[in-house]
């Protein structure tokens, strides 16, 4: 065995470059595989995983403290279907002011002695838990952004007391906005009691509702103030994630395919390149099996090293990506699951071994004499016709020689090209999907149209009838679209539904109409695609809503672009039928050209003290994720594809050292050598681009509608129409560029070949 090890070690040392290429390619590929699998693993139910980790509440119920005692609630929670229960916790809605903020905010504060417990284990990710009076912990997503409390901030209670923020915690159950110690809670005058339940069976709304019925048995009927099912949170999370999970999955799979292809190409190339060495080993008396072992060892050493490094790197890269992608779940514990690393550490070397095995088995069978001559004796007869034809063309000879090179080893060229094709396909798809999602998100958020949002300072339903006119009078106002939300229920359906009544400039500011038209008269509504799908309705159908005024039949006249499933859009004229006293309580504003939004917002506050103007929520967050993912995967794919090309170029120039020496001896300049080698690979790149781009565009046409279907969203045609000529040209160049970059270094080293040496030696 020691002779085998010695030979393998020598082989690794002598082939530093080859060894390095195998190591790097396996490393980058493993990184990609870990990120890809990590995305796949985490995206299959990220909410459930994160929720389970926090032992999130299946049901959170708030009871009136005056009507139900703690003892009653605890007794009722003794039902056998309750897996775990937390509480009773005293709860109050407190107007908490903070330094530097104009208005106090009503926050739900709960008194809790510790963040752990059988239900709703809080992730205290910053600071510590509130244990003494005067301390408060706020609920905040660790990867959230924007306005938030920081440790050390002072908040004031309505009674004039001061609380210091000592910690930031995250509750996926959204059980409170802030927590204080039970002793502190007593001073805040709790009016309610919170109970958090986990049920043995909580898969469906019916099960959660049944659970609720059980745990409220024996509690006075009027005591329950409100409750939240985790299914609502889950739907919300799923809706946010669904759009790009499909996208990430598509990429995960593509990355995987490219990685496998290139590893196979590089590894089998390494073995084929060693045929001559195999002959020498055999001549020395190595048995065929020993030869096999030498070769497997030779590629295994760098492969295992690359795999280990790649796994680490993949984990490191995936973490920020995943926690950004699923930030609404809090970053706690969101990382690549351990099984992914294990799979990569076992699977990649196995894949490498398999790629090496086929040529290694061939090496094992190869007679020594044939193997020794394999390096120099070319198998004449391959691609000769192409060479022949090329030599007669008007192209510079260096170029036509280069174009002929890929024909000499058709199998290797095909593998290299397949990798380039897949690489270009993925890049095409990535850019297309990224652009599409961006367009969708911007269209959905009406980015550009809505520049400022205005709310009545008094909160929902705090508006007054004169608000719209007042707003229109502010200089710089171009269009105003006011709305009011009225909670309704579709008769025969239990889901809470919101009727959004619009008044004002719906043309420029309203949601895009995907089908049908915008509702214009009383009793006409428009809905999102998901509403139609989930309720089995279509345009033209009539259904009945209930809003306290008695049943009102409404007719669907259009499908519009927005993502809030449980919202129905109607014209203000419908208010008369449903809620005659409704008042506009949200205004979306587009400014006159050249108006500075910042100045405008200040202007609004000055002109109308009862209104608050804020910038609209942008689509930036989502765009960021898509951008990072696209960039990361595109870069990795490009690097791996370029490395594949690099490897092929290295192998083919090595094999053709003698030809290169001869060509130089008859006057080929170093420049011509570079042109020849780069051309040979750029040809593969160009062909790869030519095939990869249409495949990528076709894949985009398939994947995007599939994604939209999965997310049950409708989208305008403009979202699909992303491939413009300049982009396509750029993509075509990308294929050539990847190949040229990969070939440049081997080409230059080929240009430096010492002619005397190769011609002398071979």
């Amino acid at each position: 065995m020691s002779a085998v090890w010695l030979a393998a070690r020598a082989a690794v040392r002598r082939r530093r470059l080859q060894t390095a290429v195998v190591g790097i390619v396996v490393g980058v590929s493993t990184t990609m595989i870990v990120v890809a699998l990590g995305l796949l693993a985490v995206s299959s139910g990220p909410f459930d995983q994160a929720y389970a980790r926090q032992l999130g509440a299946h049901l959170a119920v708030t009871y009136d403290r005056a009507k139900a005692t703690d003892a009653q609630l605890t007794a009722a929670a003794g039902w056998s279907g309750v897996e775990a229960v937390a509480g009773p916790f005293p709860q109050a809605t407190v107007e908490l002011g903070a330094l530097g903020r104009p208005r106090a905010q009503p926050l739900t504060v709960v008194g809790r002695a510790d963040p752990e417990g059988p239900v709703d284990r809080l992730n205290v990710w910053d600071g510590r838990w509130a244990t003494a009076p005067g301390e408060i912990v706020v609920n905040q997503n660790p990867v959230g952004q924007g306005f938030f409390f920081r440790i050390g901030d002072q908040v004031t209670t309505p009674e004039g007391g001061t609380l210091t923020v000592v910690g930031r915690a995250f509750s996926m159950s959204r059980s409170a906005d802030a927590w204080v110690s039970p002793e502190q809670m007593a001073t805040l005058g709790p009016t309610a009691t919170q109970m958090l339940y986990r049920f043995a069976a909580a898969g469906t709304t019916a099960q959660v509702e049944a659970g609720q019925a059980e745990v409220t048995k024996g509690v006075p009927a009027q005591a329950r103030l409100g409750s939240t099912s985790y299914l609502v949170l889950r739907n919300e999370a799923a809706r946010e994630a669904a759009t790009y999970v499909t996208f990430l999955v598509a990429f995960g799979l593509l990355g995987l395919a490219v990685a496998i292809l290139i590893v196979a190409n590089v590894v089998s190339g390494a073995v084929v390149a060693g045929f001559r060495h195999i002959g020498v080993l055999k001549a020395l008396g190595f048995t065929p099996t020993q030869v096999l072992v030498v070769y497997l060892t030779m590629v295994s050493v760098p492969a295992v090293a690359g795999c280990a490094l790649g796994t680490v790197l993949g984990n490191v890269l995936a973490r920020p990506l995943l926690s950004q992608a699923f930030r609404n779940l809090g970053s706690a514990g969101i990382g690549v699951p351990a099984w992914v690393s294990v799979a990569a550490l076992l699977g990649v070397p196995l894949m490498v071994a398999l790629s090496a095995l086929v040529p290694a088995l061939r090496a094992r069978r190869l007679p020594a004499a044939e193997a020794i001559s394999a390096g120099s004796a070319q198998h004449a007869g391959r691609g000769l016709r192409a060479q022949r034809w090329l030599s007669g063309t008007r192209l510079p000879r260096a170029v036509s020689l280069g174009l002929g090179l890929p024909f000499a080893r058709p199998a290797r060229s095909a593998l290299t090209m397949a990798a380039v094709v897949l690489g270009v396909t993925s890049v095409t798809l990535a850019i297309g999907l990224g652009d599409s999602l961006n367009r969708y998100q911007r269209a959905e958020a009406r980015s550009g149209a809505v520049q400022v949002e205005v709310f009545p300072a008094g909160g929902p339903r705090g508006g007054s009838p004169g608000d719209e006119a007042l707003l229109r009078s502010v200089p710089g106002t171009r269009y105003v679209l006011g709305s009011a939300d009225v909670p309704v229920r579709q008769v025969g359906n239990n889901e809470q539904t919101m009727l959004r009544l619009y008044k004002g400039d719906t043309g420029p500011l309203g949601q895009q109409v995907l089908d049908g038209r915008w509702p214009s008269g009383p009793g006409e509504v428009a809905v999102a695609k998901r509403f139609l799908v989930q309720r089995g309705l279509s345009i033209g159908d009539t259904f009945t809503i209930e809003a306290g005024q008695g049943p009102v039949p409404v007719r669907i006249v259009g499908m519009v672009l927005y993502n809030e499933t449980e919202t129905i859009v109607a014209d203000w004229s419908t208010a008369a039928l449903v809620a005659p006293d409704a008042v506009l309580d949200r205004f979306e504003v587009q400014l006159a050209e050249g108006t500075d939004p910042q100045a405008y917002m200040a202007e609004v506050t000055k002109a109308a003290p009862n209104l608050v103007a804020v910038p609209p929520e942008g689509a930036e967050q989502f765009v960021w994720i898509v951008l990072v993912t696209v960039t990361l995967l595109t870069l990795m794919l490009a690097v791996v594809a370029a490395l594949g090309v690099f490897n092929t170029a290295v192998l083919s120039t090595r094999e053709r050292r003698r030809d290169l020496g001869m060509l130089k001896s008859i006057g080929m300049t170093p420049g011509q050598v570079v042109v020849m080698v780069v051309t040979s690979m750029a040809a593969l790149g160009a062909l790869g681009g030519l095939l990869g781009i249409p495949i990528g565009v076709a894949a985009h046409r398939v994947v995007l509608p599939a994604m939209a279907d999965a997310a049950q969203v409708g989208f305008p045609a403009s979202v699909l129409d992303v491939y413009k000529l300049p982009i396509l040209a750029l993509l075509a160049l990308a294929g050539v560029a990847i190949a040229a970059v990969g070939a440049l270094m081997p080409a230059r080293s080929a240009a430096r070949v010492t002619i005397a040496e190769v011609l002398h030696n071979e």
């Binding site: 004796a377 004449a380 002929g404 006057g667 010492t754 002619i755």
Partner: protein
């Protein structure tokens, strides 16, 4: 052609004090020599004495570590890599022991290649290549690939390729080394014929008989030095 004629011809090759070291090994140790236009010079010597190194230095395939090499007026020490490539293309034709043909190209294209690299269009290059193959008596094998040619035929293709750009100097490193004696003689005759129509020739050979047959002068190299020079009366 007589001795005195050649002595009056300009020097095609001028070496003075050329050294070539490979690490500690000294391959050439102060070689000075001249080859005049129209001469046929044979370089002989024991194995490892530096003959191939000498040829490579003259062809600009290798750079000496000391001394100067001037070929056809070009001081090779002053040329960069590209300059050397262009120099080889225009001035030098080289023939090797193992032919060094490109296996993927048929005989004709192997020969045409040398001109095509210099930018000659394919039809012109092929026409001239065919003329050369015809002159060397293997025009009938023009579409054959090297693997299917005999050793002698391969060497003729190599000679044709070396002549393609009308070189000032034809260099041959054991051109008959890989051939049996009968075929070797044919190749030697070919070189002799070329010399007789004015081609300057510098060749390395182990075969004293062949040297005396077609060289007018023999330079003997021992341990990287010129040990002896003798002028020959050609036997044919």
């Amino acid at each position: 052609m007589t001795m005195s004629d050649e002595a009056n011809e300009p020097a095609v090759v001028q070496l003075s004090g050329v050294r070539k070291e490979y690490g500690d090994a000294i391959a050439l140790d102060g070689v000075s020599l001249e080859v005049r236009a129209g001469e046929a010079v044979a370089v002989m010597g024991p194995s490892g004495s530096g003959k191939s190194t000498l040829l490579n230095v003259i062809a600009g395939l290798d750079r000496p570590t000391g001394g100067s090499v001037v070929v056809h007026g070009d001081d090779l020490g002053r040329l960069d890599e590209k300059g050397l490539a262009l120099f080889r293309r225009r001035r030098i034709g080289m023939i090797f022991q193992f032919f060094n043909l490109i296996d993927d190209l048929p005989a004709l294209d192997n020969v045409a290649l040398a001109a095509q690299l210099a930018g000659v269009a394919a039809p012109h290059a092929r026409r001239r290549a065919l003329e050369l193959l015809d002159e060397l008596g293997i025009a009938g094998r023009r579409n054959t690939y090297p693997a299917q040619l005999s050793g002698g035929e391969r060497q003729r293709v190599a000679v044709a390729r070396a002549l393609m750009n009308r070189p000032a100097l034809l260099l041959a490193d054991e051109p008959t080394g890989a051939l049996d004696s009968r075929v070797g003689e044919q190749v030697m005759d070919l070189l002799l014929d070329l010399n007789q129509i004015g081609q300057t020739l510098l060749m390395v050979t182990h075969d004293e008989r062949l040297a005396t047959r077609c060289a007018s002068r023999v330079i003997e190299i021992v341990d990287g030095r010129v040990a002896r020079e003798r002028t020959l009366e050609r036997t044919s």
